[in-house]
Structures are given as structure tokens and as C-alpha cells.
Subunit: 490 residues, 2 copies
Amino acid sequence: MLKPHIAKELRAIVGDNWVMDTPEDCLAYSYDATPLYQSLPDGVAVPGTAEEVAAIVKVCARENIKIVSRGSGSNLSAGTVPVEGGLVIVLTRLNQILEIDQDNLTTTFQPGVITANLHREVEKMGLFYPPDPGSMNISTLGGNIAECAGGLRGLKYGVTKDYIMGLQAVLPNGEILRTGGKSAKDVAGYDLTKLLVGSEGTLAIITEATAKLIPLPETKRTMLAMFRDLTGSARAVSRIIAERIIPATLEFLDNPTIRVVEDFARIGLPTDMGAILMIEQDGPEAVVERDIQKIAEICRKEGAVEVKVADSLEEGAKLMQARRFALSALARVRPTTILEDATVPRARLAEMVEQINVIAKKYNVEICTFGHAGDGNLHPTCMTDERDKEEIHRVEQAFEEIFLAAIKLGGTITGEHGVGAAKMNYLSLKVGETGIEVMKSLKRAIDPQGIMNPGKLFARDTRRRVVVSNVEQDHHAHGNGCGCNEHTAS
Amino acid sequence: MLKPHIAKELRAIVGDNWVMDTPEDCLAYSYDATPLYQSLPDGVAVPGTAEEVAAIVKVCARENIKIVSRGSGSNLSAGTVPVEGGLVIVLTRLNQILEIDQDNLTTTFQPGVITANLHREVEKMGLFYPPDPGSMNISTLGGNIAECAGGLRGLKYGVTKDYIMGLQAVLPNGEILRTGGKSAKDVAGYDLTKLLVGSEGTLAIITEATAKLIPLPETKRTMLAMFRDLTGSARAVSRIIAERIIPATLEFLDNPTIRVVEDFARIGLPTDMGAILMIEQDGPEAVVERDIQKIAEICRKEGAVEVKVADSLEEGAKLMQARRFALSALARVRPTTILEDATVPRARLAEMVEQINVIAKKYNVEICTFGHAGDGNLHPTCMTDERDKEEIHRVEQAFEEIFLAAIKLGGTITGEHGVGAAKMNYLSLKVGETGIEVMKSLKRAIDPQGIMNPGKLFARDTRRRVVVSNVEQDHHAHGNGCGCNEHTAS
């Protein structure tokens, strides 16, 4: 619960209905889409304007109340779990698309807009906002920006940071910052826009954004290629790129995923295949046709048993459903589904999948892998049961080894889900102690009180290094985030 | 001159030949391509490895010696002028392309590589590194990264920051930082890569970079469209974008520029035209052909008197020469040429050019405008004489008004040249006092001693705001940068 005088002050800012601090209210904002993480906030505020956000933050800064900002809470790294309590600021009322500027090919919107709604609105005008995270039907654009969301179209079109040109954001002192704008070229000082994109709510609360739009591709075409073995599919991916073809989407399902998806969706996937590639190309009709033919040929040459090219957009959408269904299908298997996003340079894909399989076997855990083959962004997904502490321990050991393997292959611990609370103990693996120190100095510079999304990004013990031989200690160190971690009013 | 014991210590790091501190040596590194700015360093070091850079920086940090890092010195914002003396670190010996990774479509290189050399090497393999600043035949990639260089292909392909995926950089304390890597998706912590790109040498010295490559477009086609009046050309630009065509290049010359270029190059430009658009489209043959026909049609509809489509790549290159010649041609007219880069959202282009002309007339100065019409990045260029102090004063007043006009039209003070020493008094116009404070806090966080490229980006008097009615005071405040500003050894 909030202290009564704080609750009163917040109500005066946003109105009585938009501050909530009953246990039931707090429970509803104690978790996000990340399994194993839950922690109660002291209260919840739902502002309706950037000025209200600023006024709330000023109160929190004065009273030293921690802040977690969030949208739909579809986060997969516990980034929006209030692990240190405090006030959750929900931005879903800021849900207007403010402008679609057809002359400058930009759009300006509030953070609470649902990603897929923006897609629909700009596509009506023949424009295109490519970032399409798996959660796009429920995720908010503010969350996409905070996490630098990726998606299926990352290979050809890049990720959220490649589109965000300007921001309005509330700083930890309650001041409103404006960065960037509609100019494609702008080098006036440090790029604060790109610093805030992917900063996971630890530096500022985004209250408005301007994004670049591009012309909507004229058409698209979808195909599936089935491979008996994984390495054949990986070779095909390499050959496609070597032929200088960049497909819009180049997705991959491994055999365990294929079986689970087919069992769930009954869409006719051959369950005896080692891997399926789902490929989509978009662009002008003639180019798409030529690319799809070339890709089909490459896949056959590299051992594809069957290549299925969709005859229509509808059939293509149906083929792609297998990929969009993957997570839902896997989630049905056991009570708890942990979706990770270890990422490697594209050329190391097959090696990485093989290592994941070896690691899963070693720890006797069930891991299916699917993901974005084109950009090396894999989603090893573990079906487990959070009530079985012993198994969960093995799952965490396995993921730790998976992250280490990704780093050793020149990759990263997270491609698009963010660090949050779930991966803060692994961040130094990727960025090194020097990188951690620089990042911490930036955090202190902008948020000296440490009130914005505390307990995220940085491990509590800065000297700690994750080493495989020392797993017990590691899990002690990040055990705090697992299980319900209640807080009383500060 | 450097203190003898410092010079000795630096020589021990890089070898006797690579530390220079005679007056002649220092004079050679006292300026860059920006007129009106010159200041002597105390010495010059030319390291051969990142480790040598780190060792030099450690000495400087210990002794509190200011550092200016540079490559070819083609900077246009006085960013590499050692305005506070100190040591110039020249990175031209670090000139190796370390890798072109055809599987992952990346290249890794040292900062001293000449931009056009990278273009040539990757294009041999059918790959493409789009950023093409006007100085690409002499500029180094390290400088391009430090300034976030743009170029003629910015509209379709973006700028330097859109390609840099990872960096190795020496921090102000001499530690070596590694950021990013070859993964297209990587959200492990704050995006330090993008923070360093465009940080103008004020945060770190870049010693290695990994950049994204894309497939080389199959072909390209060039055309010129001549317009009697400026607004017709601007309408054509808007129509092209409205038709959802994004040309690779969409350049613009105004009438004064046309006349000067023709006088210089004798390439048959009609000197009675109000504006010329130079348009290039690249991509698959069929698409390029279709787009060029559509663009030609749009230009004619919007009043183009003549449309000339090149029949071959050679003819296209010749047509584009007019644009590449622009600066050289303008530079011949009078002793001093000041090239600026005020930038507006594309749709405000004609308004901006008209305002530039009004301002030039008001202050009785000669300004030609050319630039990147597609991305609104204009280069109003003043032909003047730095020996005429009274005229230079009017020139500075005119540019101040031009920057204000760009801001009022929703643009920025610099699209691709950077802030440096030349525009530090105008930065707050774009980013506001809040933006300045955030940027300064980042600078302090990473460079608490303030040794990296001091006297750049931030105006000395932070409370100072540029207002047109108060020009005398403004010029007093940044008068330091004008004229030769000698320093003795610290």
C-alpha cells in the first residue's frame, strides 16, 4: 500500500480512479509474461498525459519511491516486474496514434498504442512499420521501444531502434526530454534517442515517439522447406545469403518444435523432419517471384525433402501460422514455459542448435528451439514446471550454459527480449566488466537516485562473474528474483 | 611542445618517429577542413595499435593532457581542431580492413581506413557499404563513425549509425571497451555502440569497428530534371515520395550553385534553371527502369522543363559529377567557403531554401544551396573572405538565422557534419536545456576529467541561449574558436 498522503497526492494528479493500491490491484501488476518472477508493487498509477507522468515522477523523486513503467506487460525478461516494490506506472491510457505524416514518412504515437494497431493503420496508407515482435497483438509500442523489440522481419528490415527517430520522455527528476525528430539526418549531440531505445525503463519513461515508415512492399510470397537434418537447413540459410538474397523472413523450427506445433495446430507439418525453414520474401512482384524460385532451388540442392510455395497471400499466412503458433503450442505441454533468446551470428546457427541439444540432454531438460534463422536469433524454449524446484535448478543451469555457448560463438545473451531481472547476472558475459562499468555510470548520470526500474540490468554483486564451474553460487546470487517477493509500503 | 618527460614516455610507447612536437608538426595538425578555426596542439602521436592508443591515453589521463583524436581531418565542424591544445592522436596508421565476412554480411576494420577504399573492397564481392559522405575519397571511417557521417545515399540507405554494429574503443581512462558484435539483434544492456557513433571523439577513441553490409544493388540509373522554379522541384520531391518511391539519391542544386558548377566544370548544365534534381535509383533492373520512368513522369508533371535519363552507368556517373563537383566549384569563387548543413523534414525543403535566400539578402552575403533533397539535408554554402572581419560577422549572423529557421521548421542545426566547435553555441536550440544537461551528464560519466576533445559540443556558458536579437554577445561567446589560438605546453 502507498502511504496515504502519497496516494492522495497521486490521486490529485491523475484522478481518483487512476491510482490503485489494494492488494488485489497490486497483485495484478506483480508479474509480466516471464515465468518464475513475481513481486508486489506498493501501488499503481495510470496517467493520461505526459504531464501527469512528469508530475507523478516528481512526487516519486521527492519521496524516493521506486518506479516501474509498463504497458501490456508482455515482457519476457521480468523487465516490468516491480522486484523492489514501489509504484507501477501503467501507460495504456496514452494510446493515441497522433500523426501519420505521409510527406515525411513518419508516424508519431503514444507509448500505449498496441503494435499491431499501428501496423494496420499505416498499412491502410500503403506504409510499413516493420518491427513485429511475437507479442505484437498485445504488446505496446512503448514496451517495444523500452526493450528494442525485434521480430520476424529483423533480418531484412532491422529492429525497433532502426525505426525510432525521436522521443518524448520523462526523466527521473520529472523533467520532460525531447530527442530527435523527423529529420532522417540529425547529428546534434549524443544520440539520446538510441540510448533510450532498449534501456528497459531504467533511464526514463517514454511518453511519445516518432518513427520512420517505409513504403509497404508491393507483394509477398511464403514458402516452407522441410529438411531431414538440421545442418542441411543451416547450409541452405548460408547459401541464400551467399547468393545475396535477403528474405523478409527466414524462420526455423527444430524437430521437437515441429512435433509440438503439429500436435497443437494440425496444419499438416511432417513430424519426422529435422528442421523446417519458413521463408517469406516481399517487394516488387517480379523480384519476389525470382527470389522465391532461387530460394526453392537452393533449399532443394541443400537437401530439402519438400518445398512448398504458397499460391496466395492467404495460403502464405496459413503456412506462417506454424511459426506464430510455436510458443502457444509449446506452452501447452507443461505448466511452465521459459522462452529464451540467445543469439549468434547467422553462420553459427547450426552449431548453436546442436549445442543447445547437447546441453538439454546433459541437464535432462526438455528444450525446443525455433526462431529467426536469418538473424541468428534463436528461441530455445524449455517446457518445465516451476513447482519442481529441483528441475527448475537444472533448467537454469542449462540456460546458463546456453548463454555461455552463444557468447563463445560470437553471439549475445539476448537478441530481443532484454536483460531485465532475468538475465542481469549474465550481462557481464557479453559486455565485460568495462562495459558494465560504463553502463552503470550512464545509469547513475541520468538516474542518480536509482528510482527508475531498480533491480534490473545490473547484477547486485558487481564483482560476480558467471562461471560454469560455480553454478551454485550463481543461483544463490539471482535467487531473489524467483518466487514471490513481497514488499510493504516504503 | 610536450614536456620532455612526456614526449619520452610517448616515444617509448609508439616509437621515436611517431611522436612529433616541433612547431611545424604542430601547425600541420592545428586545423581541419573547417574555415575560421585553427589552434596549435602541444604534440602529435601516431599510434600503430589499439594497445598503443590505450597506453597513450593512460599517460594523458595521469598527466591531465587533453586529447583530440583524428583521421584525415576532413571534418567540417572544427571537431578535430585542438582548441584547447594538448595531444593530437592521429589514427591513419590503423588502416587495415581486418575482415569481410561474407556469411554474416559484416566487415571489421580499423579507423584509419579511407571510406572509398572500403567501398571498393566490399563491392568487389558484390556487397555494399552505403554511407558515402562527400569527402569519402579522403575521409577515414573512424572519422565517419565519430561524426555519424551521412552522404548522398542517406534517404534510402540511412547513415553511418545504421551500419555500425560493434566497436572497440579506448575510454578516457585508457581501458579498452568492446561493444556490440556481429549479431543483427543484440539488446544486452544500453546501446553503447550507437552512443559512441556521432559522439565526435568526446567520449572515446574508436580503434576498431564492425559494420553491416548489404547486397550490392544489381544496377542503377541516373537522371537529371531541370526546373524553372524551386517550388516545382520541391513539389516533385514530395510527389515522388507520395508515390512510395524511395530513390537511392535525390539531390538538389539551386540556381546560384548551377551557375557556379557549370562555370567550373562545363558539363552543359542550363544556367537559367531555378533548380536541378539529380536522381539515382538502384535495385533490380526491372524495378529501377519502372521507378525512373515514373519519376521522370512526375518531374514533367510538376513542371520540369527537361528530363535527362542517362543511358549508361558511365553517363550516369557523369551526370552525378555536377553534384560531386559542387563544393570544389563553389570553393573557387572566393577565398573562404563555409559549408553548412542545416536540415529540415523533407516536406519543408522549399520553404527552407526560400528562407535561406531571404536571409542571405538581408545580410548581403553570397549563399548557394545544394544538398540532399530526399532527406531534407541542405548545404547552404557561403562564399566569403575570412580576412574581411565585417563580412564574416554578417556571415555568422546569417547562419545563426538559418539554424533558427531550420529549427522552426522542425529540423536540426546539423544533419551530418556534427556540432564540434563550430556549432556548440547552437546545440541548445535543437536539444533544449534539458537535452544539454543530459548530454553533459553522460560526458561527465564517461570522461570525468574532461580530457577527450574538450571545447566541443557544449557552449562554455551553459546558461547562454542563442537569440537573434542578441548577436553581439553570441559572437563574443564563441569568438574563441575563430583565429589562431595558440597554446603552450601544459
